[in-house]
């Protein structure tokens, strides 16, 4: 099967996982959504890159998810979850996500005209993730949520950047940043309960 035919479903997948990340109060659900999100990112990166190199994104993303998951095991719930998930809170986030989706869809055509090498699906997927990630960052101050937001923004950027830059070193370095963020996220989540080393 041609990977380009999977690009549009991948955009849908990315939007759904981004929305789940924005709404999820259970860290297990968040980690699962992140893992699925990286599947979508890999498909969209694979439109521009050979699939064996694009898989680096999947590996880095899944490893980041695994690192975060291991770090979260046994962690106190209040340090991870948002408090007071009310109906209005959920509705507000859903509306924001829908707005991001609409803005991304309308901006994608312009981006395709501007960046010749990018496909509509890549532009749309990338912009959706960047938008949802920024909203995530703006709505939280919990380390776990901030890391999820950053990984989402960087994932969106990686889709767009893959269309214009195919350096292997860059792929490796961005994978290093993804893993580094996951590691530092795990550290920050657990830091308050760690023994002071002073």
């Amino acid at each position: 099967m041609d990977i380009e035919s999977l690009a549009l479903p991948a955009v849908g997948l990315i939007f759904i996982t981004g929305l789940v990340l924005l709404l999820s109060w259970d860290w297990r659900l968040s980690i699962s959504a992140l893992a699925v999100q990286y599947l979508g990112i890999t498909v969209l990166v694979g439109v521009s890159w050979p699939i064996d190199i694009a898989v680096v994104k999947l590996l880095a993303g899944w490893m980041a998810g695994a690192v975060l998951g291991i770090g979260l095991l046994g962690c106190q719930e209040e340090r991870i979850s948002e408090e007071n998930l009310t109906v209005s809170f959920i509705l507000y986030r859903v509306l924001l996500a829908v707005m991001v989706g609409l803005v991304a869809t309308s901006l994608s055509s312009g981006m395709v005209r501007w960046i010749e090498k990018i496909s509509w699906a890549q532009a749309c997927g990338g912009l959706i993730l960047i938008g949802l990630g920024l909203i995530h960052l703006g709505l939280t101050s919990k380390p776990f949520r901030v890391i999820l937001g950053l990984l989402t923004v960087i994932g969106g950027f990686e889709i767009i950047y893959a269309a214009v830059e195919s350096s292997i070193l860059l792929a490796g370095l961005l994978a290093g940043v993804t893993l580094g963020l996951a590691l530092v996220g795990t550290y920050l989540i657990n830091a308050p309960s760690l023994e002071e080393v002073n």
């Binding site: 960052l137 101050s141 380390p143 901030v146 937001g149 950053l150 923004v153 960087i154 950027f157 767009i160 950047y161 214009v164 830059e165 350096s167 292997i168 070193l169 860059l170 490796g172 370095l173 961005l174 290093g176 940043v177 580094g180 963020l181 590691l183 530092v184 550290y187 920050l188 830091a191 308050p192 760690l194 023994e195 002071e196 080393v197 002073n198």
Partner: protein, 443 residues
């Protein structure tokens, strides 16, 4: 561990100074060839002769900073991760194409997180905001690199220039904490150990400024556009004014340190903005020379704060009333460092500020007055701090509670601030040739 790190950093600084580049070293029967490049995944990491001064400076700063670790206890993670940060910033200087430096700077930021938010402590918003802003800045810089590569060899279109300008502008605004993206600096200064935070405040902006100068050096249309320098200058003035005014009304000693750094970044922006035409060598030289008084002032300030923190965990001014009577050297060092960054005559910050201010007054007198206002704000903050530290109950006797090692470091630092202020000719000429690293910028 601190001793080992200090010796290693000194050794690396010495090697950067002495090691022959692109040459062979004969030791008895062995011949060792020194290449300045190493290839990793198809990209070059080059540390040529022109990079030597920056390397020597980076590792000397690291060595001197790590040297005082045993007297301030910034946490066990500080030294190893500080070394990692220095190594990643070295990679940022060496990587080719230089745009990838943004990724190494981001890795340096990630490496700094554990010592800024040590185990056992609450993770503050400032640390998270620092990570977020630096990450967003990295993305903008990478994207700007692609935009600029696309413009090479083509006549720049107005639309392209606008896109690149916005992308680069936002990238450096996030990375260098330009107004209004600087809120994380005072927050970080408050949440983290002052000595660890000051290390980041010192090395990170320097590495990012070298990246900014790399952009100006590499892209002719960028450095030839008059708006570039006007934007840099305006950003610098805005940072100095806002930081100075906020500092004057600030009630926490650690947050004042953060505002002082913002003021210093603003001054660097002004220095770079004045480096045009025949004045490139002068102002870029001053930009590099300004790192020395900044290093000394931030070092003494952070050391003093770390000492005062042992007595009063809360560094709010009302709680620090009379603290100077028990820790007079720390209090005096803190005030002296504050005054040096504010640009008071006879202190280390003064000789580099005067030519920059003169240049600014020639370019735009109005902006010059605003900068004076900002510096005045920091001076007021210093006077307020002094008033709180030395006034206490009359019955409180003057004591000297600093340890011997702390006294030695403080006295050395304060002497450095005074000597560099009185005899600037001792260090200014060392930086005269440093701008040659950015050969394309020279007239």
């Amino acid at each position: 561990m601190a001793l080992l790190a200090t010796i290693t950093a000194l050794l690396l600084a010495g090697l950067a100074w002495w090691l022959p580049v692109q040459d062979r070293f004969v030791l008895g029967p062995w011949v060792i060839n020194f290449s300045d490049s190493v290839s990793v995944l198809g990209r070059q990491f080059t540390l040529g002769g022109t990079d030597r001064p920056a390397l020597v400076m980076l590792y000397l700063i690291a060595a001197l900073w790590f040297g005082a670790v045993p007297v301030v206890h910034p946490g066990k993670l500080f030294v190893p991760l500080g070394m990692a940060m220095a190594a990643l910033l070295t990679a940022a200087i060496a990587v080719n194409p230089f745009l990838y430096a943004a990724l190494f700077i981001e890795m340096g930021v990630i490496a700094s997180m554990p010592f800024l938010s040590p185990p056992g402590g609450k993770v503050g918003r400032g640390v998270l905001r620092y990570l977020t802003f630096q990450s967003l800045g990295m993305l903008f810089i990478l994207f700007s690199g692609w935009l600029l590569e696309g413009m090479e060899g083509l006549p720049p279109q107005t639309e392209d220039i606008q896109r690149v300008a916005i992308s680069i502008g936002l990238g450096f605004a996030f990375l260098l904490a330009v107004f209004p993206f600087y809120t994380w600096i005072p927050m970080l200064a408050q949440e983290s150990h002052p000595y660890a935070a000051a290390f980041v405040f010192l090395v990170l902006p320097t590495a990012i400024f070298i990246l900014l100068l790399g952009f100006l050096d590499r892209y002719a249309w960028l450095r030839e556009a008059a708006q570039t320098y006007e934007i840099l200058r305006s950003a610098g003035v805005l940072m100095i004014v806002t930081a100075g005014v906020w500092a004057a009304f600030q009630n926490r000693m650690d947050r004042i340190l953060g505002y002082a750094l913002i003021l210093e970044i603003g001054l660097s922006f002004i220095g770079v903005s004045l480096a045009q035409g025949s004045a490139v060598m002068t102002y870029l030289g001053l930009f590099f020379a300004a790192q020395v008084p900044r290093f000394l002032a931030l070092g003494v300030w952070a050391l003093a704060l770390a000492i005062l923190r042992t007595e009063s965990k809360d560094l709010e001014l009302p709680f620090a009333r009379g603290l100077g009577r028990r820790y007079p050297l720390a209090a005096f060092g803190l005030i002296l460092a504050n005054f040096s960054i504010a640009g008071l005559p006879l202190l280390a910050g003064f000789p580099v500020r005067i030519p920059i201010l003169q240049g600014l007054f020639q370019a735009s007198p109005g902006m010059g007055y605003w900068v004076l206002l900002g510096s005045g704000g920091l001076l007021v903050a210093g006077l307020r701090t002094m008033a709180y530290l030395v006034t206490g109950e009359e019955a409180t006797p003057w004591q000297l509670l600093e340890s011997r090692a702390q006294r030695a470091y403080l006295i050395l630092g304060m002497l450095g601030l005074l000597v560099l202020g009185i005899l600037p000719q001792g260090f200014l000429p060392l930086f005269v040739n440093l701008p040659q690293v950015f050969g394309q910028m020279l007239p």
